[in-house]
């Protein structure tokens, strides 16, 4: 729309300017001819000056006319446009034809001039408007971007509510109020959900206890067949799995609910050798331990037990029978490596909740996600690496001390 208007204005300006110039030129031509006529009458006929003036004697009077003509200009070595006025005048000395020519500014040049000036105006206007708008917009939208930024940084892990800045603009205040309600609702839903997980898991423990106890009594009070015993034992195994699943879910919920707030400095040397001693009773793996004397980490003792038990247990579970498990730790990191033949299909998913590699082991799929959760809770960095040449699976935790 505005560009159409602009084009129209430019066109009008072009026509107007061209007209103006044409009129000026014609006026000039007429006045020159008038001067020359005067001179001829006085008998001082000027000489012809090519290409702007030519005077010659003719026999009859021709009509006065203005026309455009192209004449070669040797100095500029190009054909130029001239306006020419030819007029016959009758004097005592005979009839003379006077042709006066003036170099015309070409339409092309006018057009270019107009176009350039228009474009420059446009560019300048655009630049000025751009910067004015930018600074104004920044000011105007500041509350919006401030809110947006706060939303981007929002995390369920922090307990503090989001405080939006009060703005002079009603719409932004409305937006902030809306967001506040939304965040509060989401947070309370999230907390309910966390609590729900914990409650459900707790509630499930009692029925499990009843099933477990009844099975034991069935086995002891009745004469059952070997086949029935096998079936009941298998139910007991599944109860155990369900129990573990429950306990792990409860643990995850408790970490989420921040119920482990008493970190202590734990001596890794003592701690790990204690764990390994426990495991040696049930594993045929050999353990090579390389822990510096003063290695320690600050965390809740129970979570430390869960963390290292899960990692060491994992290494035992997935290692080749009677292979060596290597444990290295210092104040900066802990690493456990085991030799396992099978390649992990999705190493990036290994810390995810309920992710299971293959279906060979009866896993809850929560062990490593608990590891991940505990690491996140203490800002540790867990990582997994596989060294194919040695078939070595390594889990490492950087304590980021």
């Amino acid at each position: 729309m505005s560009s159409a208007l602009l084009l129209l204005t430019a066109a009008a300006l072009f026509i107007y300017t061209k007209n103006l110039l044409d009129n000026a030129i014609e006026e000039e031509l007429y006045s020159q001819v008038a001067f020359i006529e005067q001179n001829i009458e006085q008998g001082k006929a000027p000489k012809t000056i090519q290409p702007i003036l030519s005077i010659k004697q003719i026999t009859d009077i021709r009509p006065t006319q203005v026309r455009d003509t192209m004449i070669y200009d040797p100095r500029q070595d190009e054909v130029e446009l001239f306006r020419e006025l030819s007029k016959s005048t009758k004097t005592v000395n005979g009839v003379y034809e006077i042709k006066v020519r003036v170099l015309v500014v070409e339409s092309e040049d006018i057009f270019m001039g107009i176009a350039i000036s228009f474009l420059s105006i446009l560019a300048i206007a655009f630049l000025i408007l751009f910067f004015i708008n930018k600074s104004r917009n920044e000011k105007l939208w500041y509350p919006f971007f401030s809110s947006l930024n706060k939303l981007k940084n929002f995390s369920f892990d922090t307990k503090e509510p989001i405080v939006f800045e009060l703005s002079k603009i009603q719409e932004f205040n409305d937006l902030n109020n809306g967001l506040n309600e939304l965040v509060t609702k989401i947070r309370s839903d999230y907390n309910n959900l966390k609590q729900f997980t914990e409650d459900v898991s707790h509630e499930a423990q009692t029925p499990l206890a009843i099933i477990q106890a009844k099975i034991e009594n069935i086995i002891n009070e009745n004469d059952i067949s070997d086949k029935q015993y096998e079936e009941l034992s298998s139910i007991q195994e599944d109860i155990k799995r369900l129990t573990q699943l429950n306990q792990r879910l409860i643990l995850l919920a408790k970490i989420d609910n921040d119920q482990f707030a008493n970190p202590k400095a734990i001596n890794l040397n003592q701690f790990i050798s204690g764990r390994v001693k426990d495991f040696q009773g049930i594993s045929k793996n050999t353990f090579q331990i390389e822990v510096t004397e003063d290695a320690h980490v600050k965390m809740d003792p129970y979570l430390a037990e869960v963390l290292f038990n899960n990692l060491l247990g994992n290494a035992i579970k997935y290692s080749q029978p009677e292979s060596e498990i290597h444990i290295k730790a210092n104040t900066l990191m802990f690493r456990v490596s085991n030799i396992g033949a099978t390649l992990i299909d999705n190493p990036e998913k290994i810390f995810e909740r309920f992710y299971k590699e293959g279906a060979t082991k009866k896993a809850t799929g929560l062990g490593l996600s608990i590891v991940n959760k505990i690491c996140k809770y203490y800002s540790f960095t867990p990582s997994y690496r596989f060294l194919e040449s040695e078939q070595l699976h390594s889990f490492q935790i950087d304590f980021n001390e």
Binding site: I210, Q212, A213, E216, I219, N220, D226, S233, G281, I282
Partner: protein, 224 residues
Amino acid sequence: MKILIAEDEKALQSSIQTYLDRDGNVCEVASDFYEAQQKIALYDYDIIVLDVNLDTGSGLEILRIIKKEQKKVGVVIISANSSLEDKLEGLDLGADDYITKPFHLAELNSRIKAVLRRGKFGGSDTIEFHEIRVNTSSRTVYVEDKAITLTRKEYDLLLFFISNQGRVLSKGIIAEHLWGDNSDLLDNFDFIYVHINNLRKKLKGAGARYIKTAYGSGYKFIAE
């Protein structure tokens, strides 16, 4: 022994009662806070199996009453909550043991007997089973009055067997008793075979025959 089972889940309550009755114990039950409160006020028990979450009040409150009145009774808490704080709170209040739901009745039974053996509540620190005699305070085992040397696991295993004599103990239950949560790291039960075979050898002739295989894959400690 006289045992009070304070548990609001009737099904669990009666299952525990069934299991414990077999050892010639006298079991009484309380299904809510008030019944439990009433019964401990009226009668003397050797052991109270106490659920933390009773219908109408906290089991820990019962525990406080027991300790306040300085009753000579062993308390084994059962709880659906496995958290360490709960456990510590229970033990701080003077409970003798703490077991988390779900549990094996054999495990509960062995914990109850262990509490009784600590002597304070009318139990004895000596257990006898035919020619086998175990002194639990010195952790020594005699077969026909001759001391035998058992490893820690073998000793635990023997005590677990004697405590649950006549009952079928699956390998899973035994593994959990011996290794707790770590037992799920066992790929197979070879470790249990090893301990049981060693124990059989050390118990010699008659003793070895007490450990019987039941249903192909379980064990039962019983004299002929």
